[in-house]
């Protein structure tokens, strides 16, 4: 057993449900107790979804516990089949079903005999994988299912399209800025003269999946979901894929260079010409994206050497680290991810770019690390935003887990050239707000907040402050207040001072500023 207050990635079934409900006309049936259909609420509220979430529970109650599900799961499947005529029903196991160890595959086999819809059992193990891994696996499973079938029925069209084309794999609900990223990618492809063959799973129809292999190549914008599908398509259908995330100027340039390479493999034979994207990249970098100019401008000069801490999923944390260090000259003291399963690759990505690497699923560890480093800005998830609030450090949200405010109505991609603009704004605003705050503190400004104890770790210091000493730090500007308080407490501990008086405080100050 593990004591846990908060988690970054959800349980496995959430990943399966996210993929299933992203496809068009796919219904997921959860084998779960009452109340576990919480996914519907999340999707309906965070994405402001207009349509009923196609997820139903086959409710596990006392009777199921006593006698097994028996006909219940099958009845639920056939009922959904009749009511809503989905193309596919995905039976989704939850932690409950994994403990009950019912033969769900058997239910699927029996239900598919009578139902019009296809029925499959999501092949995810609750104990072994988290939300993201399960999503990756389920996507691959569905693609494999339909391609294998098309091959068996010999309706698979394996000829590549006449003009260059690509599949975008891994856009799904409710992903962090996924919808905007998808639009930006489509625009990018349009400008490169590459058609988008299919986007999966978001908005994809299963009947078109058989045409997936017609694309010249695949792209996987986010490492967490889509890689399994891309490797499957490469192995079975010889489709190359690009797994570079086009986030930031240099990554986007690399991404386009890769596309150029893959397009030219076929272009010469099919179009009798070679495509060159170099000029396009130059032009975009100089004029469409403002980020390159921004990093040369005086604004960005002021950021040079400032410290930042980064935490998020592997894709976003690694890309943002790279942008901050290489494109803006900001010092990243700590970069981390909760994608433990992808730790090796993450380490490789941020190698040499940051002071320390944190790979953990424990938010208190992240919080303590940030509190120790005291960076000028944090880039993280909603959790880090709240950590930042408590210790007065601004935070830009760059990755899921997300909140409704991370589903903006306006256009906010993180990918492509428009993405670089958005990210530059986000970064600059985070740092700038922090500095504004500090300058108003320096001039005694409008600071009426009580002073907080700054410590985030659970083992609170047991040092007392006398009331006079307590009020003393209020006269110090906010941005150094935390550090001074901490230094004083450390000094008190080292010198066995049980209670901090004003004298002790100034003694500590003298010691630390020789």
């Amino acid at each position: 057993m593990k004591l846990a207050y908060w988690m970054y990635a959800g349980p496995a079934h959430i990943g399966t449900l996210r993929v299933a409900s992203s496809f068009k006309n796919v219904h997921a049936i959860m084998h779960a107790p009452l109340g576990d259909d919480y996914f519907n609420v999340m999707r309906s509220t965070s994405e402001r979804e207009r349509d009923f979430t196609p997820v139903t529970a086959s409710v596990v109650d006392r009777h199921v516990l006593a006698r097994g599900s028996q006909e219940k799961v099958i009845n639920t499947i056939s009922r959904k089949d009749e009511e809503q005529h989905p193309d596919l029903i995905v039976l989704t196991p939850t932690c409950t079903s994994s403990i009950l160890q019912e033969d769900l595959q058997n239910f699927v086999d029996r239900a598919s005999l009578s139902s019009e819809s296809d029925v499959i059992l999501a092949d995810v193990n609750y104990h072994r994988v988290n939300e993201l891994q399960a999503a990756d696996r389920t996507l691959e499973q569905i693609i494999r299912f339909y391609l294998d079938r098309a091959r068996k029925r010999s309706i698979l069209d394996r000829s590549v399209t006449n003009t260059p084309s690509a599949n975008i794999i891994g856009i799904f609900t409710p992903g962090f800025h996924n919808q905007h990223d998808c639009r930006e990618l489509k625009r990018l492809f349009g400008e490169l003269g590459v058609a988008v063959n299919q986007v999966i799973p978001e908005g994809g129809y299963l009947k078109y999946l058989k045409d997936l292999p017609r694309a010249w190549f695949n792209i996987v914008p986010y490492r967490e979901v889509g890689l399994m599908t891309a490797t499957f398509l490469e192995k079975e259908y010889g489709m190359p894929y690009i797994s570079i995330t086009p986030m930031g100027i240099s990554n986007t340039a690399d991404f386009i260079a890769q596309i150029g390479k893959l397009v030219n493999v076929w272009a010469y034979a099919l179009l009798e010409k070679r495509l060159n994207y170099k000029l396009y990249v130059d032009n975009q970098t100089k004029f469409v994206s403002q980020a390159a100019w921004f990093s040369k401008s005086i604004d960005c000069q002021n950021l040079a050497g400032k410290e930042a801490a980064i935490f998020g999923d592997a894709t976003h944390a690694a890309s943002i680290t790279k942008i901050l260090v290489k494109e803006m000259g900001i010092r990243v003291s700590c970069s981390g991810t909760y994608c433990k399963h992808d730790a090796e690759r993450f380490n490789e990505q941020v190698q040499g770019l940051c002071g320390e690497v944190v790979v953990t699923e424990d938010h208190t560890e992240v919080g303590d690390t940030i509190a120790r480093i005291e960076p000028s800005a944090i880039f993280g998830t909603q959790m880090e935003r709240h950590i930042g609030k408590r210790i007065d450090i601004p935070c830009g949200v760059i990755s899921s887990p997300v909140h409704i405010q991370n589903f903006p109505l306006g256009y906010r991609p993180f990918l492509g050239y428009e993405g670089t603009n958005q990210i530059a704004d986000l970064i600059y605003n985070s740092f700038n707000l922090g500095m504004e705050d500090h300058s108003s503190d320096v001039f005694g400004g409008h600071d009426t907040k009580g002073i907080s104890t700054k410590s985030l770790s659970t083992d609170r210091s047991d040092i007392n402050w006398t009331p006079e000493a307590e009020s003393e730090p209020n006269r110090i500007p906010g941005f150094v207040r935390g550090k001074i308080k901490k230094n004083t407490e450390v000094f008190a501990k080292q010198n066995n001072i049980p209670e901090i008086t004003i004298d002790a405080m100034y003694a500590a100050k003298e010691k630390s500023n020789p």
Binding site: M1, K2, L3, A4, Y5, W6, M7, G10, P11, H13, I14, A32, P33, L34, G35, D36, D37, Y38, N40, V41, M42, S44, T45, R48, E49, R50, D51, F52, T53, T56, A57, V59, V60, D61, R62, L65, T76, E83, T94, C95, T96, I99, L100, Y126, H127, M383, H386, K389, R390, H403, T458
Partner: protein
């Protein structure tokens, strides 16, 4: 819709959306200040808990998960040792006065003996451990609170005459304020003790105390109390009365196990409910109610602006929190027509007085008796709603946005559990919630009605 006066109950498939009962943690840990709630279960429950109470998690809540891992499920790890390790950590981090273990579906399925382990660990670590099985196999949403409070009735001190005398002393002190003419000489009637159960914000609880004090009835305690060690005394001679309709197990536990007497009353929701609630308590304590009618009329007068909006409008409850009957009764009294009352579970004995008041209200207001659907089926309910086109649907968040897109105004049902809707003083809060979707109508968008993407779906149904 039934026109007869006898309520009929239907029962559907139970395929409806509601919150997992462990969500009670989110409000109970705030109510009981010195408690710590430990939810024993899997990641699924933790994920729910961190998403449902939203940002509350960031305020260093006094609740956490004891997350079972594969080793726990296959019994490779010893439950007692694992829980001991975790509880010791909680003790050193937060030092609570009580740890409440919330059993979940997981602990039910693997038959983890929480009730057996708790007394042993309690001795070992020196903190009381209360076990509540608030799982989704048996219960829905607010029933979670019921399981916790029922478990707590066992921890309430015994009611003894000494305690009673002391309480009388307390009452005397309270009454001593000069100029309070209601109380003069009436204390003598109040021989028995009255304990109210149900978790309410402390301001609402003291408003209800005050309402009863006006009738010279003093409340000797609340279950739950603000702090664990202030739990009220229970025992023979104690009258208990519920303030919420989902507390039937707590009622049963205090009657059967603690020999208390239950005052079966409608619930103090709406001015009509509050008056009926007070009247019933007065009846039991043999007190002649004083000025209740004028007070109710006064409150109704303050609601005039809302009543103008909702009179004659229709409403359907999809059902997810067990407050449905009381709110429906209040809304019918406000002049609304209720088509359907979905409800997860209907305890006809515990809610008998409330059901009777519903019947009387329907007759008085000349409204048809609504259809009461236990364990509803959300899919069928949505179909029915397309047919009946109510002016308002009171429903969970999973259905709210899709219904709005299909041009059915909705109110999110969970808000009723967190809003302060009890007592006369809060009578405006419920109609405030109900009228919100009806008030915000703008004309500018009236030419694009349905905003659903799946137009097909609507036609099919």
């Amino acid at each position: 819709m039934k026109n007869s006066d006898i309520p009929t109950f239907e029962c559907e498939t139970g395929n409806y959306h509601t919150f997992c009962p462990i969500s009670c943690v989110a409000w109970l840990y705030q109510k009981i200040e010195d408690s710590f709630f430990l939810v024993v279960g899997t990641k699924t429950r933790g994920y729910f808990l961190q998403n449902a109470p939203g940002v509350m998690i960031f305020a260093e809540p006094r609740y956490a998960m004891a997350e079972s891992e594969e080793g726990d499920i296959s019994a490779q790890l010893n439950d007692q040792k694992e829980l001991e390790r975790i509880c010791l950590r909680v003790k050193s981090d937060r030092n609570p006065s009580v740890i409440i273990w919330i059993g979940t579906c997981t602990t039910e399925i693997i038959k983890m003996d929480l009730e057996g382990i708790a007394p042993k660990l309690e001795k070992q670590i020196g903190i009381p451990i209360v076990v509540a099985r608030a799982n989704g196999l048996d219960y829905a949403f607010t029933q979670g609170e019921d399981t916790v409070l029922a478990a707590m009735t066992h921890r309430c001190p015994d009611f003894t005459p000494r305690v009673m005398n002391q309480q009388k002393g307390d009452v005397a002190k309270l009454v001593a304020s000069p100029g309070d003419k209601f109380f003069d000489g009436k204390i003598g009637l109040n021989r028995c003790s009255l304990v109210l159960f149900g978790s309410l914000p402390s301001s609402v609880a003291s408003q209800l105390n005050l309402e009863l004090k006006r009738q010279s009835i003093s409340v000797s305690g609340w279950l739950p109390s603000q702090r664990y060690n202030e739990l009220p005394a229970l025992g023979e001679g104690v009258y208990v009365c519920g303030v919420n309709p989902f507390l039937s197990r707590t009622a049963t536990a205090s009657m059967r196990r603690r020999k208390c007497q239950l005052v079966g009353a409608p619930f103090p929701i709406g001015p009509d409910g509050t008056r009926a609630w007070i009247e019933k308590i007065c009846l039991v304590f043999n007190v002649k109610p004083n000025g209740l009618e004028e007070r109710e009329n006064q409150i109704w007068k303050t609601l005039t602006d809302y009543l103008e909006i909702i009179t004659g409008k229709s409403v359907s409850f999809m059902g997810d929190n067990l407050l449905e009957i009381s709110i429906a009764r209040f809304l019918i009294r406000c002049g609304m027509v209720v088509y359907e009352v979905g409800i997860p579970y209907m305890d006809r004995r515990y809610q008998a007085a409330e059901l009777l008041l519903l019947q009387q209200t329907c007759r008085k207001m000349r409204r048809p008796m609504p259809r009461i659907v236990e364990k509803p089926d959300n899919y069928s309910q949505v179909q029915r709603m397309h047919e009946l086109q109510p002016d308002l649907a009171i429903t969970g968040m999973a259905h709210a946005n899709p219904s709005e897109a299909r041009d059915i105004d909705t109110k999110w049902s969970v808000e009723f559990t967190f809003a302060q809707i009890h007592g006369s003083a809060n009578a405006r809060d419920a109609p405030e919630l109900v009228t919100r979707p009806l008030r915000r109508k703008g004309d500018s968008l009236s030419d694009c009605r349905s905003l659903s993407r799946q137009t097909l779906d609507v036609q099919q149904s």
